[in-house]
């Protein structure tokens, strides 16, 4: 009898896999190298910071032992812990402290008098524990004898452990956790205002036939070219106590929420405008024709056609603006007054109090809204389907004198707001002594005699911007190429994709602080880059990685995979293809990435504030430091230098792109 073989015994049919070529393996190696870069520049530092936020300090009373001699010989050894148990002097939460905590030894002797003849012996048994006699540190485990007069000067130092104490302390300190509410309030309010204003502006640009559209577009992009501190400084000159038009505030104080929101609207406006303009530009004219033939009112058309068509754009813009405002540090620092916000708290904890652990805790708190915005954005991006089908007809605005006039005046008001902030900065920078001597001079440009690093910092900033543009563009473009063009290695590719998206969710302050913890560890073999230009470049590239990556991916997606297929059938290695075809075709996007990185490297403050060293002081940081020291006019002067540099970079970019388009993109025209 023949038996049917069970499934187990059957040999499975071989799975046919596409053979990975030598090229693919080589590409995988490159991808892993760039993934490794992202791990070192992003994942490891964040992990180091997370663990720092759990590093706590507490007084370990069991490790301190006393003997007392009241003139009748030494008493039995008794630990501070035992005394505390019997006398109930300190509650457990009073033993928790920060690494800089101090606890007087006399706390454990309620009847202590420094005039008494009593002598005290003290020793500490902790491995890394210590106590101070005045300011002298004792870290050994021997007995030390002190007279009462000296004993009163003894303080215990805490020892390190791990736990949730820092978080508990954070949420039980109203001054700290109130910042969460403040940050959310400012961010939401600024988002609402910016998105509404930008929508109106974009609507006017897209749907009217008003004049000067090109000029308005240009003016609206100005805020991208300046550090976020600059609008703060401008607002001081406009609305401060000596401001030109402070009457417009009706006695309200510019230092606080009003100033932060006004400045936030200024610096996030172009970001919102770009997204909303794109969303409005893809609307389908046929829908409007349908609305007209259905006799829908203009109002109804607006709400049933325009807004739904732009909804993803609006949502996307809101998320971007929210994220920019809540993670921004420069503006609330300059004009926030007593109004505490999360990003400034990190700075205050780290620089003001040298409390790195609490800085890490606030960073983790700030990470939550930023992460949530990031997840929401990803979700929106996925839902967004192509609205522009091949049969769509682009909307063509028709002239309407009344509507055009309204649009023109609205855009003029917004443009005036933007220009006036820039112009007032330049004016204040040239005035000799505001407001007492309004003669013009260049004294405020004498940066070398002020805090912040002087003219050298300006040179450093340009160096950083160029290096970031050069190295960043290379790393980003090849990373994107590997993700986009490689075959197989699905898991590696998707994890790389995740790593590349992550920087968008990490606030600059958080990244910078994480870098201190990771790179300043002497055990880290990469420690030597701490305090150099290299770490600034690495940090800046990483901070702005996501947008650059997406730009590169979009450009590469436009190129048919057939190019790779043809190349391999012609037995040409991929790098030859990259050099001869891909890079030239993608040149406009590559240039876009480099100008994006350049401009951001010039203006960023938050990512580098903890990382610059005196040799690598930066212009944007100098703006902050000079303002901090009260040299507001020189700060405005330096801010304007950054602005002009970015304008120049933009012009060069425009020129080169034009030239290149002629040379490499000739194939696009027939």
């Amino acid at each position: 009898m023949t038996t049917i073989p069970s499934n187990k015994e059957m040999t499975p049919a071989p799975i046919i896999r596409p053979k990975t070529s030598k090229d693919d393996r080589l590409m995988a190696v490159f991808m892993i190298v760039i993934a490794l870069y992202l791990l070192i520049a992003l994942a490891f530092p964040l992990y180091a910071m997370l663990s720092k936020s759990f590093t706590t300090a507490a007084f370990d009373l069991e490790k301190f032992e006393f003997q007392v001699n009241k003139g009748d010989g030494w008493s039995e050894t008794i630990s501070a812990f035992q005394i505390n148990e019997t006398l109930k002097l300190l509650k457990p939460e009073e033993l928790k402290t920060s690494s800089d905590g101090r606890l007087y030894a006399t706390t454990f002797f309620p009847d202590f008098s420094f005039r008494s003849k009593t002598e005290y012996r003290l020793r500490q048994l902790g491995k890394n524990g210590s106590f101070l006699v005045g300011s002298t540190r004792i870290a050994d485990t021997d007995w030390h004898t002190y007279k009462a007069n000296k004993f009163r000067r003894i303080v215990f130092r805490p020892s390190k452990s791990t736990g949730l104490d820092n978080y508990i302390l954070y949420f039980s300190t109203p001054a700290l956790f109130r910042s969460i509410k403040n940050s959310l309030f400012i961010s939401i309010l600024s988002t609402l205002i910016t998105v509404s204003l930008a929508f109106g502006f974009a609507y006017a640009l897209n749907r009217s036939t008003m004049r000067f559209k090109g000029l308005f577009r240009l003016i609206a992009m100005i805020p991208i070219l300046v550090p976020s501190l600059l609008p703060g400084i401008a607002l001081v000159y406009l609305f401060g106590n000596q401001g030109l038009i402070k009457g417009l505030l009706f006695g309200n104080d510019i230092y606080g929420p009003i100033g932060i929101v006004m400045g936030s609207v200024f610096f996030t406006f172009p970001h919102a405008l770009i997204i909303i303009t794109t969303a409005l530009a893809i609307s389908d004219a046929r829908l409007y024709e349908a609305a007209i033939s259905l006799r829908a009112s203009a109002w109804k058309t607006f709400w049933t056609v325009t807004i739904p068509g732009a909804r993803y754009g609006l949502l996307s813009a809101s998320i971007v603006v929210f994220n920019l405002v809540i993670t921004d540090f420069g503006l609330p620092k300059v004009i926030g007054g007593q109004y505490n916000m999360l990003a400034v708290d990190i700075y205050k904890q780290v620089i003001g109090q040298q409390n790195f652990e609490m800085g890490a805790v606030v960073s983790m708190v700030l990470l939550i809204p930023a992460m949530m915005a990031f997840v929401l954005d990803r979700y929106v991006q996925k839902r967004q389907v192509a609205q522009l089908s091949s049969s769509s007809v682009p909307y063509e605005p028709k002239p309407d004198r009344k509507f055009d006039a309204i649009c023109l005046s609205y855009c003029s008001v917004v443009a005036c707001f933007i220009l006036s902030l820039i112009i007032i900065c330049q004016y204040a920078a040239l005035v000799k002594l505001w407001p007492y001597n309004l003669n013009l001079g260049l004294g405020n440009y004498n940066f070398d005699v002020m805090d912040g690093g002087g003219w050298a910092s300006y040179g450093n900033s340009i160096r950083l911007a160029l290096l970031t543009a050069l190295i960043g563009t290379t790393v980003v473009f090849f990373g994107a190429y590997m993700v986009e063009k490689i075959k197989g290695f699905l898991i590696t590719r998707s994890s790389f994709q995740f790593l590349a998206m992550l920087p968008m969710a990490i606030p600059g302050m958080v990244l910078g602080l994480a870098y201190i913890f990771f790179f300043n560890d002497p055990a880290n073999p990469l420690n030597p880059i701490y305090g150099t230009m290299t770490i600034l470049v690495v940090c800046t590239v990483t901070h702005f990685y996501t947008v650059s990556h997406l730009t590169a991916v979009t450009a590469l997606k436009q190129m048919d995979r057939e190019f790779e297929a043809v190349a391999s059938s012609l037995k040409q290695p991929f790098y030859k293809l990259v050099a001869k075809v891909t890079v030239p075709v993608c040149m406009p996007s590559i240039l876009d990435i480099s100008i994006y990185l350049f401009v951001n490297a010039m203006t960023t403050v938050s990512a580098v504030i903890f990382l610059y060293s005196p040799d690598t002081a930066l212009a944007s940081v100098a703006v902050m430091n000079m303002d901090d020291a009260g040299d507001v006019a020189p700060a405005a002067a330096m801010g304007m230098m950054i602005f002009y540099t970015n304008v120049a970079a933009r012009l060069i970019h425009l020129f080169v792109t034009r030239k290149l388009l002629v040379r490499t993109q000739a194939w696009r025209t027939r």
Partner: protein
């Protein structure tokens, strides 16, 4: 093939090359690396004067504000980069001493210094150079505009007429701010000090991050009265600002600017030479250009735009109290004054 692969590594090589250059730059062996918080504009002059006597030692300044330098030194505790800390606030040096970060050394000529200017240990860990003193910067033009009399004492500042016209540094981020707070606690006692600050808080327009800003804001007329330090006020006055530098009659807080050798330096000999030099008469005369009070007995001459007799206003400052109670004082201050959610109305 191999050659072309190598070409692809150019990216990586670039990064490595940049790092190498950076590493190379920061590790020249003949220099003394000195961390300092002294005003940037004075540093080249100080280095030039030092090199007149010691041309063989090249000073490499690393300068930033006190808070940042202190944070930096603490962050580098296990991996020290500095050979010396020079011109840093005394309370910062007390923190470093408590962390065991300083190398005690008794410089030559120490007997010429006023004993309150150096660490009381037999071999002192830190040596003072000069002192900077708290002061009220009063803008005469804005004061007149707002009908404000010039204040004469700390308690004057709590009068209702100054409401919203006073600005001071936040002690949680500024050494000058802490100096003020600790001096009030020493002058008026623990209870009286907090009562004073409660009253003062009602008049404060806002607290600034840095210690020099209140005076510069007063100089710019942004606020009539700034609580800051005298040196800053004198400089602003010299630049033409309509301000008066006022010492409160109850007494004023002050802070030492001091220097110390960092433990673990491999250039101990040069560092000691530098320490010897920082307390020479010549160096002290140099500090006296800007600071009215210097450590060397009998050197100090009055400084332009400073009120006379600074010494008589200076309180008997207990640095140990300030250092060992700092954390507690700052937490209390934050609880009382930093948790206001709304900005102050004027």
């Amino acid at each position: 093939m191999i050659q072309t692969i190598l070409k692809r590594f150019v990216v990586g090589a670039c990064i490595v090359a940049v790092s190498m250059i950076a590493i190379g730059n920061s590790a020249l062996a003949v220099d003394l690396i000195v961390y300092t918080a002294v005003e940037a504009e004075d540093l080249p002059r100080y280095a030039a004067t030092f090199n007149e006597d010691h041309p063989d030692i090249n000073i490499k300044w690393v300068r930033d504000s006190t808070g940042i330098m202190t944070a930096k030194l603490l962050a580098e505790k296990n991996n020290p980069q500095a050979d010396l800390a020079w011109g840093m606030s005394g309370s910062s040096l007390l923190i470093f001493k408590a962390e065991g970060m300083l190398h005690p050394y008794k410089p030559k000529g120490l007997e010429n210094l006023d004993p309150k200017f150096y660490d009381s240990d037999p071999v002192p860990s830190w040596i003072g150079m000069d002192a900077y003193v708290a002061a009220i910067c009063y803008n005469t033009v804005e004061g007149e505009k707002n009908n404000l009399k010039a204040p004469e004492s700390w308690w004057d500042l709590t009068k209702p007429m100054y409401e919203g016209h006073v600005i001071m540094p936040n002690p949680n981020s500024s050494g000058t701010g802490f100096l003020d707070v600790s001096s009030w606690l020493q002058l008026f006692g623990e209870k009286g000090g907090w009562a004073y600050m409660d009253a003062l808080h009602d008049n404060i327009a806002r607290y600034t991050h840095s210690g020099s800003k209140p005076c510069k804001l007063a100089a710019a007329g942004e606020i009539p009265i700034g609580v800051s330090f005298a040196f800053r006020g004198a400089r602003s006055k010299a630049a033409g600002a309509p301000i008066d530098v006022i010492f409160a009659k109850e007494g004023i807080g002050w802070e030492i600017e001091a220097s110390a050798i960092m433990a673990g330096t491999d250039k101990l000999e040069a560092a000691q030479k530098f320490m010897d030099w920082t307390i020479t008469r010549k160096a002290m005369v140099m500090y006296n250009d800007a600071y009215a009070v210097v450590g060397y007995k009998g050197v100090a001459k009055p400084v332009k735009h400073f009120p006379p007799n600074v010494d008589s206003y200076m309180i008997d400052n207990d640095f140990e109290f300030a250092a060992n109670n700092r954390k507690r004082i700052l937490a209390e201050w934050q609880k009382r004054y930093d948790s206001k959610s709304d900005p102050k109305k004027k």
